[in-house]
Symmetry: C2
Subunit: 226 residues, 2 copies
Amino acid sequence: MSGPSTHAFLKHIPLFSVCHEDELSRLAERAIEQRYEKGQMLFQRGDPCQGMYVLVYGRIKIAIVARQGTEKVIEIIHPSQSFGEAVMFLEQPYPVMAQAVEDSLVLFIPAETLFTALDDDSRLARRMLAGLSMRLRTLLKDVETYTLESAVERVVGYLLNSLEDSDDNVVNLPVNKQTLASRLNLTPETFSRVLQKLSEQAGIVVEGREIRVPDRNKLSEMRNLA
Amino acid sequence: MSGPSTHAFLKHIPLFSVCHEDELSRLAERAIEQRYEKGQMLFQRGDPCQGMYVLVYGRIKIAIVARQGTEKVIEIIHPSQSFGEAVMFLEQPYPVMAQAVEDSLVLFIPAETLFTALDDDSRLARRMLAGLSMRLRTLLKDVETYTLESAVERVVGYLLNSLEDSDDNVVNLPVNKQTLASRLNLTPETFSRVLQKLSEQAGIVVEGREIRVPDRNKLSEMRNLA
DNA sequence: CGAGCTGAATGATCAGAGTCAAGAATCGAG
DNA sequence: CTCGATTCTTGACTCTGATCATTCAGCTCG
C-alpha cells in the first residue's frame, strides 16, 4: 500500500471520512504501514503508547492478561476498525495487549499527527468523541452480557448478533473456537458443550468454523427458558 | 446555587477547568440545577438524552436493568463527577438508568450548549476525549475484575482501592451494602460472607458502613491464596 | 505415509457463588 | 421511645460452569 492508496483507504473509514482532502493527505503521508505475522504481538500491557492503529487486513485480538498469565480476549478487531485511541489520549502505558491472530497489515498513526489534525478540525474531534462513546457503549454492553447472562444466552446472543449483518443463515467464526470462547468469557469446553446443546435443541449445524442457523426464532427462544 | 457560584463550581471541575472565563460564564448561565430526592430517577433506560450531568452534592447510582428486572449497578457517582456525556454524543437513548441514592443536586448541561463550547475550544475537546478515554479505561478494568477475579479478590481490591485516597485506615462505604454488592457483582449474601471471612482472617473490623483495616498487607495477601 | 502438533469434543468431578428461607440488627417516622 | 420497615447476617442447599483427563480429528512436514 503506497501513499495514494493509504489516502483512499483512510477516506472510507468513518472516523476520517469527515476530514478535508489536504488533512487526509497529511495523515496518509505520516501514517506508517506495519506488517505482522500470525502470532506476533503489536504491543503488550505496560508498553508506552505513541499513536493509534487502523487495521487494513487480517485480524487482531485485544486481550488482558491476569497475574497468573490467564488471558482474556476483550475484542476481536476486523479490517477498517481502529484501536488504541483511548490509550493515546491518556498518555499512559497500554492496559491490554494486542496480537495478530492472522497475518495482518495495520496503519499506525502517530499521536502528534492526530493531535494536530484534531486541533485543526473540530468535526474530527466530534467524530472522535462519538467514536469513543460508541466504544464505551459496546464495552458497557459487554459488562451487561458478562454479568447478567448465562453461558447459553451469551452464545445465542453472539450468533444472533453475527447473523444480523449477513442475510444468509450462516455465521463464519472470525477466529478459532478457543479465542472466541475467551471473548465470550467461557472455557473452550463449555463453549463446545453449548454448541452441542444448541445443535440438539435449536437445530443449528456446526461445521468447523461455519455455523448454520436454519431457524432464528428457535435459537432466540433458547435465551428465555433456563 | 445561583449563577456566580455555578461558575465557580464548574471552574474546579477538571473537565471545564481549561475553559476561558467567558465560556465558563456561558456554560454556567445555561446549566440547569436539578434537585432529586433519595430514590428518585434521573432517567431510565430508553429515555432520550439531551445533555450531560455534573453532580454537585449527594450520590447517584448508574445501573443496567435486565429483562426480568434484575438490576446491576455499574457505577456510583460522587460529587464533582460528570456522567451521561457518552450517550449525548451518540444521540441514542440511554442504555442505563440513573437514580439518586441520597438527596442530590445536579447540574444539567444541555447538549447544544456543550457542542458550541466544543467547537469554540479545541482544548475542551481534548479534555473531553481524555475524559472519555479514562472512563473507557475504568470500564475495562471492571471487565477485568468481573471476569478474572473471585469474590474475595473483588472485595479486597475495592477496599484497598478506597484506602489509597484517605490515609487513615478506614473505608466509609459510599452507599448501603446491597448497592455496593451489586457494584462488585455480588449478591448481598456473598458480600456479607466475604466481609465475615476477612474479619476473621485479615483482621478487618466492620461497623455498619465503616470498615477499619489495621493491616493492609494482610488484607492484600488474601488476594493471592485461593 | 506415518509422526507429531494443534484444535476440538466428551466424560467425570468439583467448587464458587447463587437461591431460598429464617432471624437479627438497624433505622426512621411519629 | 417504640413500632414497623428496611437492611443485614446466617444457614442449608443447589447449580452453573470450571477443571482435569482423555480421546479424536485434521494438518503439516519430513
